[in-house]
């Protein structure tokens, strides 16, 4: 037997990235690139929003336009950036990490991806319909979302609901695929407790999608019927209940935060051991905590609507929300324990992990504050909430995503990203995010409501700081894009394991062949993260590595 499977294939044409490919690695990159396209659009909207908020007066854009801007900013960032970029990482990482040749359903995978540009187009198109885009915030609460002053069937809100429904279908198809792949296609010897934590967290996050998303879809169907068919599910004048929608919305949209942050926990759990040269502290607890977060995450949604519900519900959901800090805390301490007395290497991915962890702990503290009913009712609908979730989504999740991109970039492109540009990107992102989102907390405590384009002049100081931070964040994306493009084109060649990491994906050439290990899937014989233990991960590891190195030397 020869090692043809280990020799990198000649790089196929770049054109495959523009067509209907069923290869998970192509789809993964398609997801990530499309996601960053929408990231730039939604980021531009954020720049306009922060530009408007530089001064207390409503002077840059019209108030209705402003409503459309924050609505579309939130919707695009979540449904067209965060979810697609994470699905891209899932596509790239899950099959090689578990030794599978591809996803369980490659065609379904491609269909799920191609729905993203379709509903993205629908959302962007809503800027050009006569009524303008949806203006009722990313949560689209009735009765605001049911206003249709121009009386047209095709209005911004209609397109919004349609896009969210399509996004839901796409995510469900993706989730069915990811869960089946992880459950059924693992390498021989890879029991659940030998699975990398990223796969654990992906499994947990996709389980949440499967349970939560249908509720939002059901709620959105009713919203669409109220909007277009004249039903009264949410119209009080017809006996309906607007708070019912809030329950449907948050039954999904709170778990959606865990759908976003769980894979990032997975990324942290993969990267801290690599760059601390130590095994993941408490691997089993970190893995299992993901599913405790799933269970608890499904019963906390009411904390978003404390002002709308009865006292007993407030008490109940305050407790469940606070409990979720326990499994999350387990993970945070596990990462600290991993770094403790490790040989820490401050590479770009590690810096993004540490920065993300710091931001996440801060977001966790304000999260527990928000879980407390009296505090929550005081700051409900203020900038305190905006600051909190931007720390979670940007401060922790997006920084974790950047860490993952820098870490696995050499694996899937065969090129090394530039460290200097990467570190510049990190510094600008970390400073920008904190300068942008920290001032939102004092603003919220002082009582500045969210979603307003003009405000009392006493709020001006913190708003100017936040806007400066936002512009810094806008600049921070430039070194990232430069780095990605230039290193993919002419970066130094990467070997199969540039970070000296342990994991099945690092036993493949960079970039891996289309079917990963093909018929030569190695048998896993130990737990992941065996740093400093000198025990092989798979049978015949030394031979596999020798063959890979040989192929690299002779290419």
């Amino acid at each position: 037997m020869t090692s043809t499977a280990l020799v990198p294939e000649p790089l196929p044409s770049w054109r495959r990235y523009f067509g209907f490919s069923t290869d998970a690695k192509v789809i993964g990159i398609q997801y990530i690139v499309v996601a960053f396209f929408f990231f730039l659009i939604a980021g531009l909207l954020a720049m306009i929003i922060r530009g408007e908020l530089l001064t207390p007066a409503s002077d840059l854009v019209d108030r209705t336009v402003y409503n459309g801007l924050y609505t579309m900013h939130g919707t695009i960032m979540l449904f067209l950036f965060t979810f697609p970029v994470l699905n891209g990482l899932n596509n790239l990482l899950i099959p090689p990490m578990i030794g599978a040749p591809d996803m369980a359903f490659p065609r379904l995978n491609a269909v799920a991806f191609w729905m993203v540009p379709v509903f993205g187009f629908l959302l962007i198109a809503s800027f050009f319909v006569p009524s303008g885009p949806a203006t009722s915030g990313w949560w689209s609460y009735p009765p605001v979302s049911l206003q249709n002053p121009l009386g047209q069937l095709i209005n911004g809100e209609f397109l919004w609901v349609l896009a969210v429904a399509l996004s839901g279908i796409s995510s469900i198809l993706g989730a069915v695929n990811f869960v089946t792949t992880i459950l059924r296609m693992r390498a021989p010897g890879m029991g659940f407790f030998r699975m990398p934590v990223f796969c654990w967290t992906a499994l947990a996050a996709q389980t949440l999608q499967l349970i939560g998303l249908p509720a939002l879809t059901g709620g959105a169907v009713m919203l669409l019927m109220d909007l277009t068919l004249g039903t009264s599910f949410y119209r009080p004048e017809g006996g309906g209940d607007p708070v019912l929608y809030q329950h449907f919305f948050w039954f999904y949209s709170h778990p959606a935060v865990y759908v976003i942050i769980l894979p990032v926990f997975g990324i942290f759990s993969e990267l801290f051991p690599v760059y601390s040269r130590k095994p993941l502290f408490g691997y089993v607890y970190v893995a299992v905590a993901s599913f405790i977060i799933v269970g608890l995450g499904l019963v906390v949604w009411v904390h978003h609507i404390f002002p709308s519900v009865a006292q007993w519900m407030r008490n109940l959901f305050m407790v469940t929300t606070m409990l979720i800090a326990v499994p999350t805390g387990v993970k945070v301490f596990a990462w600290l324990g991993t770094m403790w007395r490790g040989k820490i290497k401050l590479t770009t991915p590690m810096l993004f992990c540490i920065g993300g962890l710091i931001n996440f702990v801060f977001a966790g503290i304000t999260g527990v504050m928000l879980a407390t009913v009296p505090v929550d009712i005081h700051v409900s609908n203020t900038y305190f909430v905006v600051g909190h979730f931007h720390y979670v989504i940007y401060g922790a999740a997006v920084m974790g995503i950047f860490a993952a991109i820098y870490h696995w970039f050499p694996k899937f492109t065969g090129r090394m990203p530039y460290e200097g540009l990467g570190k510049l990107h990190f510094v600008l992102t970390f400073l920008g995010a904190n300068l942008n989102f920290l001032p939102m907390h004092p603003l919220g405590l002082m009582g500045m409501p969210r979603r307003v384009s003009s405000y009392d002049p006493e709020f001006a100081f913190w708003n100017v700081l936040a806007s400066l931070g936002a512009f810094l964040l806008g600049v921070s994306i430039i070194p990232f894009l430069l780095n990605m493009i230039s290193s993919w084109v002419r970066g130094p060649r990467a070997n199969h394991n540039p970070w000296n990491a342990i994991g099945l994906e690092w036993l493949l050439p960079s970039p891996p062949p289309e079917d990963n290990f093909g018929d030569h899937v190695p048998t896993v014989i130990s737990r992941p993260y065996g740093y400093g233990k000198d025990e092989p991960l798979v049978e015949h590891q030394a031979e596999i590595e020798r063959a890979l190195t040989f192929a690299e030397v002779t290419r």
């Binding site: 040749p101 989730a175 509720a215 009713m222 309906g240 063959a547």
Partner: protein, 200 residues
């Protein structure tokens, strides 16, 4: 290029081509679990709206007539049994008996749809008759859509049974369709209780 010997591969059943049929069934079951949450959302929405309503029935509406839906229910529940019979004969490789019972199940599903349409036609309230009308048509309509999907799937499986040798080694599509059909059936029983049995 390299001549270093590769370690012996240990392929398992889960790997390589030709074993994807079992994945299909796993994926389908996962999808069904997810689909059930949409119904759960509609059921809970219905229960909350009905439980908190001051006047649940719109003016001029007495309530729902339950006799014809009961006949429909009996037909649909029995169709689950004929489907079990069909699967039993497929397992015994008596293909014609399988097709017979399968067709009977399809016919019962079609009858259910017909009965549902007749019921809708005779009602004196519409989609916009308060939350009562809206939830009624939403629940029965969404369920009816699933029944129609089930009948179409069964038709597809029936056609595929005529492909030579297709059903000798066991056919995942039949299993998936039958799971779907039992699912639609269970949903209907809950629906029947919520819509017709629950009296205020």
């Amino acid at each position: 290029m390299s001549t270093t010997p590769m370690p012996p591969a240990t392929p398992t059943a889960a790997h390589g081509g030709g074993h994807h049929a079992s994945h299909n069934l796993t994926g389908f079951i996962i999808f069904l679990c997810s689909e059930s949450v949409i119904f759960l959302a509609f059921f809970s929405g219905y229960a909350i709206l009905r439980g908190s309503a001051l006047n649940w029935l719109p003016p001029g509406v007495e309530g729902l007539e339950w006799r014809m839906p009961l006949i429909n229910t009996i037909v649909l529940v029995s169709s689950s049994l004929t489907m079990v019979a069909a699967e039993h004969f497929k397992a015994k490789e008596k293909l014609w008996l399988f097709r017979g019972f399968w067709l009977l199940t399809m016919a019962m599903g079609a009858y259910f749809l017909y009965g549902q349409a007749v019921e809708w036609g005779g009602l004196n309230f519409g989609l916009t008759s308060g939350t009562f009308g809206a939830t009624f048509y939403l629940l029965t309509g969404f369920h009816g859509l699933h029944v129609a999907t089930g009948v179409l799937l069964m038709g597809l499986m029936l056609l595929k049974s005529f492909l030579p040798g297709n059903y000798t080694g066991g056919e995942e599509g039949v299993k998936a369709t039958s799971l779907f059909w039992h699912f639609v059936d269970v949903i209907w029983i809950i629906l029947f209780v919520l819509l017709y049995v629950w009296r205020t």
